[in-house]
């Protein structure tokens, strides 16, 4: 019986290669954590009307961008130095792809923060905020779960994240209809509701990025690329 492995990325003969791969994983997860916080704070800033928090988010986005560049560079150096194969290769390739998604999520947080400032300055009733809170919680859960799936190499969890995307789309459509109603009731609601629409759009995008991360986790674990394939295909790959 083989020994139980706590981390399948353990124990290269070259300790430094080992450390490099673990460092890459760790940095990626750190960036994931930062981006999760950014989205969480952005939604909070909007709902609480916290302009100060919103400004912080916009400033912190520079850190997110920096992390993307650093991780990309480190991944490239690993390829140049080590010519990784098999699971190491899939890890490095996946991280390169996923940091792009994380950086975009960071941008969405910045966008939401921008609207938080705008809406706070304009005052007025918080229409559509329930939807923002709900969809926000939903996609933040997806993002968290996709990062967790990466950390634990859990392709089944990644698949579950992918399946949530459809539900988010439905919630988004429903929210859009509600906001449309507000706008039709009173044209003075339009500017405000449009801003909220953009926020919801940004959140829906966060869900898409969480899905992309999940697809890459499946690639990493199972070795098959499930991007742009129907759900049944991803189910087959995960079930292998």
């Amino acid at each position: 019986m083989p020994a139980k492995k706590d981390d399948v990325y353990g124990d290269h003969i070259s300790n430094r290669f080992n450390d490099e791969l673990l460092a890459l994983k760790t940095r990626f997860l750190k960036m994931g954590g930062l981006v999760e916080t950014q989205i969480d704070s952005a939604v909070k800033a909007l709902i609480d009307g916290d302009g100060y928090l919103a400004e912080e988010i916009r400033a912190k986005d520079k850190m997110v961008d920096r992390m993307e560049m650093d991780i990309d560079e480190e991944a490239m150096l690993i390829i140049a130095r080590r010519q990784p194969t098999a699971r190491d290769l899939r890890l490095v390739i996946s991280v390169i792809r996923m940091v792009a998604d994380l950086e975009r999520v960071g941008d969405e947080a910045k966008k939401i923060a921008k609207f938080a400032i705008k809406l706070t300055e304009e005052g007025q009733a918080p229409q559509g905020y329930v939807e923002v809170r709900n969809i926000g919680a939903h996609v933040m859960g997806m993002l968290h779960d996709s990062l967790d799936a990466f950390a634990r190499l859990d392709s089944e969890q990644a698949l579950r994240v992918m399946k949530e995307d459809k539900r988010v789309d439905e919630e988004y459509q429903a929210a859009a209809r509600t906001l449309l109603t507000f706008m039709m009731e009173d044209p003075r609601n339009i500017p405000r509701c449009m801003s909220v629409m953009w926020v919801l759009r940004a959140l829906e995008r966060v869900g898409d990025h969480a899905c992309n991360i999940a697809e890459n986790v499946i690639f990493m674990v199972k070795g098959e690329d499930v991007r742009h394939t129907p759900m049944e295909e991803a189910e087959r790959v995960v079930g292998r």
Binding site: P2, A3, K4, K5, D6, D7, V8, G10, D11, H12, I13, S14, F17, N18, L22, K25, T26, L29, K30, Q83, P84, T85, A86, R87, D88, L89, R90, D148, A151, R152, L153, D154, S155, E156, V221, G223, E224
Partner: protein, 303 residues
């Protein structure tokens, strides 16, 4: 064989993790185990070890040095015109297995071979077989270039002369030229065919050995770490050559370089302690190997 016993203990625990190595940031939850083959079953090979209409058909091959088993029940087909790479840690048996294919092991007194080894459907080890003729059909290139202490011309012409492949000098000249061209050595050698072969660089000598092997019109060329003694440029030239040669010959190459196996071969066979663990398309072996041991080896988690 102390290396074997220490290698056995490393296969009991293919990856040994120390708790103290875990970084703080890793989540405390246990990761999902990857369901992959992790044990060696005697005689069982993962992947696609067999093919249709093979050049070599090898079944239940066992090789012993005295009482010690070096090859344990291996079955493998080698397809026509393929390049297949044998990889594995030192002492795994890949060179021993290679040498069975043209009976080079005959020269080792203590070596015994069991099982069925067929070339084009005929038993290689049939006592009525002409070993010399077999070794013309199945040529070999060795790790250290070993040109004869003769001229470049005579090195290449030696085999055809012995095998009576050319009656006239002009025929022999043609064979020498064709072989040197195929080996990518003609331009460098054509103006000094009478020069001593030992005066050439390592890379040139190795290409000369390849020319020598193909001068007798083999069907198969066996290569035992042909680039180990060469610099990167000479290595790259020989790898290019292998790709060209595979159009005319079947090639079996033993290599210690993972990248080389990935670059030159169609299929890769992973050997481990005398077992054939996995055979698969090379691109699959290096992106998503089926067996845990294969992955551990190629990613450098043990060797």
């Amino acid at each position: 064989m102390s290396t074997i016993s220490s290698a056995i203990s490393s296969t009991m625990n293919p990856t040994v993790i120390k708790e103290s190595d875990m970084p703080e940031a890793d989540p405390k939850k246990t990761p999902i185990e990857r369901p992959a083959d992790t044990v060696i079953e005697e005689g069982k090979t993962v992947g696609v070890p067999l093919s249709d209409n093979p050049k070599f058909q090898l079944r239940n091959v066992e090789v012993f040095y005295g009482e010690t088993p070096a090859i344990k029940n291996i079955s493998l087909d080698i397809a026509r015109n393929e390049v297949i790479a044998f990889i594995g840690p030192s002492g795994c048996g890949k060179s021993t297995f290679l040498r069975c294919l043209n009976r080079m092991n005959d020269s080792i007194d203590s070596c015994r071979i069991k099982g069925s080894l067929q070339l084009d459907g005929q038993d290689i080890y049939d006592s009525k077989r002409d070993v010399v003729e077999l070794r013309a059909r199945v040529g070999m290139v060795f790790q250290k270039p070993n040109p004869f202490p003769k001229s470049i011309y005579d090195n290449v012409a030696y085999g055809p002369r012995i095998h009576g492949l050319a009656n006239r000098k002009s025929d022999l000249d043609d064979i020498v030229e064709n072989s040197l061209r195929k080996a990518g050595l003609w331009n460098e050698a054509k103006d000094r065919l009478d020069a001593m072969a030992t005066g050439m660089s390592g890379g040139q000598q190795q290409r000369l050995c390849i020319a020598r092997a193909i001068a007798v019109s083999p069907e198969v060329v066996l290569m035992d770490e042909p680039c180990s003694a060469l610099d990167p440029i000479a290595t790259a030239r020989i790898e290019e050559l292998i790709a060209e040669l595979s159009e005319s010959y079947t090639i079996v190459i033993v290599t210690h370089s993972m990248q080389q196996a990935a670059r030159v071969s169609n299929r890769t066979a992973y050997f481990h302690l005398g077992h054939l663990v996995e055979v698969n398309d090379t691109s699959k072996v290096f992106t998503m190997p089926e067996h845990e041991l294969t992955e551990s080896y190629i990613t450098g988690r043990f060797g």
